[in-house]
């Protein structure tokens, strides 16, 4: 049999066939489209709908953007230039952008907020990126004082006198170190407070009368636009994190009274809208303070926004604290660390790492909430926009203004959320 078989087979392949190309539906664009756009009829319908929606949007929005008018003095002029066609009137931004950014801040002093904004990045760089030299942290610590001085102007000595209080506090802390914790902490708080209350004012005005170093003062009511959003936002962010940590620790505390005070504060602040707190700041604060006191509206707003964000921050950090395994606390105790050392070296680094997304979300929320100050008469970007829309020149403009404002907010908030994702990746130590 085998002989005949061998003779009847005329040809035996002795080389491998080269592999055939996959069918055209399994390669390249077609394969990708089959898998990602037309995977079943539901997906196909969705794709068609999505493409139709995008196409509709482009067809309607393209002429609007393409016909943009950049040079005009009023909406009527814009419409004359457009001559019936649809088109954006970006001239409204071009004419008003300085007001949208600075409010009524004196134009010849614009360099001060601009300089501060640039320096802000220098100040936060060592906090954001570990590769920046640690010595820059000294600048970060001084930045708030510089910012207050340059924004509001006035005598440099006032700021330096306030700053001196912190130095005095530090010196007292070092000097009284051997006298026991309670005496040391008490003196460290008491001496600077007494200095600020009794000595700082006369000292500053005294030195200023001898060696005046002053820049033009600017009143709070001249602040406005994105500048005020950034001022309130940055101050709120910088203050709410440390206060939030303290409040979270208070809520986790074994001391019943401290715990209940923290709980009541947190639940109250989280239970009412921010806008009611802002109205409290603008309407009611005069009732709660000694008769005749009157302090800056922006400062009041910063305090209220900070308190509001602090309560949310405390809850976020409490989540991080609760997520830590009990063993971490016990290990810290076993090492003989006291409460604050344990918190600083063991608990907080881990708890804060866990709560990064929540913390940054709170920051983003706070920054977006700065727009609410428009309700108590501060001319933030939205307030400026309403004022611009109320003028006879620009009545009827809205998309252009709000797209501009929204885009600026979007850049800030999106940037923050991306940074938090980067930070999470950088600090990730588990091997999943």
């Amino acid at each position: 049999m085998s002989d005949t078989h061998a003779q009847t087979v005329p040809y035996v392949r002795d080389t491998m066939l080269s592999p055939q190309d996959p069918p055209s539906s399994q390669v390249g664009v077609t394969k990708w489209m089959r898998e990602n756009l037309f995977d079943g009829w539901v997906s196909a319908v969705l794709t068609v709908l999505a493409v139709a929606a995008i196409g509709y949007a482009i067809v309607h929005l393209y002429p609007w953007f393409a016909n943009s008018v950049w040079n005009a003095d009023s909406l009527t002029q814009c419409r004359e230039i457009l001559d019936g066609a649809t088109g954006a009137c970006w001239a409204v931004i071009r004419v008003n952008w300085l007001q949208l950014i600075f409010g009524f801040y004196p134009p010849d002093l614009y360099w001060r907020p601009v300089l501060l904004f640039v320096l802000l990045f220098v100040a936060i760089a060592p906090i954001l990126f570990p590769s920046v030299p640690r010595k820059v942290l000294w600048f970060s610590a001084l930045y708030p004082f510089l910012a207050v001085w340059l924004l509001w102007g006035g005598s440099l000595w006032t700021i330096l006198a306030v700053l001196a209080g912190f130095v005095i506090g530090y010196l007292v802390m070092v000097g009284t170190h051997k006298m026991g914790a309670v005496v040391s902490v008490g003196l460290t708080i008491l001496v600077p407070v007494a200095y600020w209350y009794f000595l700082a004012g006369p000292l500053a005005s005294g030195i200023n009368s001898v060696v005046p170093i002053e820049v033009t003062p600017v009143a709070s009511r001249d602040f406005g636009g994105f500048m005020i959003s950034v001022v309130i936002g940055v101050a709120g962010i910088a203050l709410s994190l440390p206060l939030g940590i303290l409040l979270a620790l208070g809520r986790q505390s074994n001391m019943l009274l401290i715990k209940w005070m923290s709980v009541i504060f947190i639940e109250f602040v989280r239970g009412v809208p921010l806008i009611t707190l802002l109205f409290t700041a603008s309407l009611l604060l005069n009732y709660f303070l000694p008769p005749g006191t009157n302090f800056d509206l922006i400062l009041r707003v910063i305090i209220m926004v900070t308190l509001f964000a602090t309560a949310y921050m405390a809850e976020v950090i409490r989540g991080g604290l609760a997520a830590l395994p009990r063993g971490q606390y016990e290990a810290a105790d076993a090492l003989g660390l006291d409460y604050w050392k344990a918190q600083r070296l063991i608990i907080m680094p881990q708890a804060l790492k866990i709560s990064i997304p929540g913390i940054v979300n709170t920051f983003i929320g706070l920054f977006k909430d700065t727009t609410l100050v428009v309700f108590i008469g501060i001319l933030d970007p939205i307030g400026r926009a309403s004022a611009i829309r109320a003028t006879s020149d620009w009545q009827g403009v809205y998309w252009e203004l709000f797209i501009f404002i929204g885009a600026v907010f979007w850049i800030f908030c999106f940037g923050m959320s991306r940074y938090s994702m980067h930070l999470e990746r950088r600090l990730k130590t588990d091997h999943r």
Partner: protein, 417 residues
């Protein structure tokens, strides 16, 4: 032999209050209490002195005075001769109406967007990402004001609907009119309706109550039916068919009631310079509703996505290995676990919506903040009492919602051992 009697007994010394951890916490607490009371006394003293200096007293009597202002959207009977307290109640109802409407639409949009962002379809997923990132990162106030501006500036005026060559037309089979004065929708009317039930100054529609009772009763009976089917399935292994019974129970009584009451819709019609008939949803309500919904929906979408992604793939695979079909896998295995992750942050978004209704001020929506916390305060000069009352009401709503959340959390908590 001396017997070791444990630690040496120390007599109490005053310094132990500071240096002994057993006593230090008490010292700190007493100190904190002292400071707290000092602070509170300082505030109260200032307030009393300030009030005295202004010649004001602290009383809530103003609530019973005539308000003297009008409210555009009135879920209750109200006019300018009503009291301030009634204005506050109308405002509170407006707040709640808006909150419920916004919660419902935000949930629907958010769930759809969250699920679609997870879909395998590349273009749809990208589109949803763009939607979520755009709306999440721009303040809600901007969305509200933009919606309001679009409604009042680019929608047709009622007179555009008039005549042969009208430039605008009504939507959805001539039932809805979108104008720059608001959206007009059909209103439900009853030919043989029951009279209104009057309780003091409160008028309740018996029609609505009857309808609600019937619907709730049908749902309850349907649940009994399903429970019964489950029992039969547990005993015999065969699940009786119930879907047609369910449909009958759920829809027939309600429809029968509506027919009996002579239910029909009244369509808005153009009369003179404006629409009449139907329900007018004012621009302020529409702007708040749309603004809050699309903004919060972006957050809800992320919550839904996180919830679904939190369930490990092993759960799906295990369910398939047990022979469950995809639909049942979703319903019996994935959803119950995902909901445990989704619901708490979802409820806190509802809380946010409720608090954000106070932004109604920006577009003139007459909510609690605009009535009690706005015009009433301005007219009576009772900032302290008005703000206090308003904060307490908001606080009560918030605590109620968080109470519901805690109850839910406790019910679905993983029983860990």
């Amino acid at each position: 032999m001396a017997i070791d009697s444990g630690a040496p007994k120390e007599s109490f010394r005053l310094s132990m209050l500071l240096y002994d951890t057993r006593y230090r916490s008490i010292t700190i607490q007493i100190f904190a209490l002292f400071m707290l009371m000092l602070g509170a006394a300082w505030l109260v003293d200032n307030t009393v002195r300030n009030l005295a200096a202004l010649g004001k007293d602290f009383s809530f009597d103003f609530l019973w005075n005539t308000s003297g202002y009008d409210i555009s959207q009135r879920p209750l009977e109200y006019d300018s001769t009503s009291t301030h307290s009634r204005a506050a109640i109308v405002g509170l109802l407006n707040t709640l109406i808006l909150a419920v409407m916004a919660c419902a639409t935000a949930t629907v949009i958010g769930v759809v967007a969250g699920v679609l962002r997870l879909s395998n379809n590349w273009i749809v997923a990208k589109l949803m990402t763009v939607y979520i990132e755009t709306f999440r990162n721009v303040p809600v106030l901007i969305w509200i004001i933009v919606t309001s501006a679009v409604m009042s500036e680019s929608m047709p005026a009622p007179r555009d609907f008039r005549g042969e060559d009208a430039t605008a037309s009504m939507q959805l089979f001539d039932s809805i009119a979108i104008t720059n004065r608001g959206v007009y929708v059909p209103s439900p009317l009853f030919e043989r309706g029951l009279p209104d039930l009057t309780l003091g100054s409160l008028a309740l529609s018996l029609n609505a109550i009857a309808f609600l009772v019937v619907v709730i009763a049908s749902i309850w009976i349907n649940r009994r039916l399903v429970a019964n089917a489950t029992r039969v399935q547990n005993e015999t292994g065969v699940r009786p068919r119930t879907w047609w019974k369910s449909l009958l129970i759920l829809f027939v009584p309600a429809i029968a009631l509506l027919v009996a009451l002579g239910f029909h819709l009244e369509y808005p019609e153009l009369r003179g310079f404006n629409f009449s008939g139907g329900i007018q949803m004012r621009n302020s309500l529409i702007a708040m509703w749309i603004g809050l919904s699309i903004y919060t929906a972006a957050f809800i979408a992320e919550i839904v996505r996180a919830g679904i992604m939190a369930i490990s793939k092993g759960q799906t695979e295990a369910a398939f290995a047990l022979g469950l079909q995809p639909g049942r896998t979703m319903r019996l295995v994935i959803l119950p676990q995902a909901l445990r992750v989704i619901v708490p942050p979802l409820i806190s978004q509802y809380l946010n919506i409720t608090k954000n209704t106070s932004l109604g001020l920006a577009v003139g929506y007459m909510d609690l903040r605009s009535t009690l916390g706005g015009i009433t305060i301005n007219q009576t000069g009772r900032e302290l009492e008005g703000m206090l009352l308003m904060m307490l009401i908001y606080l009560a709503i918030s605590l109620l919602i968080s109470g519901v959340m805690n109850y839910y959390n406790n019910r679905v908590k993983l029983k860990e051992r």
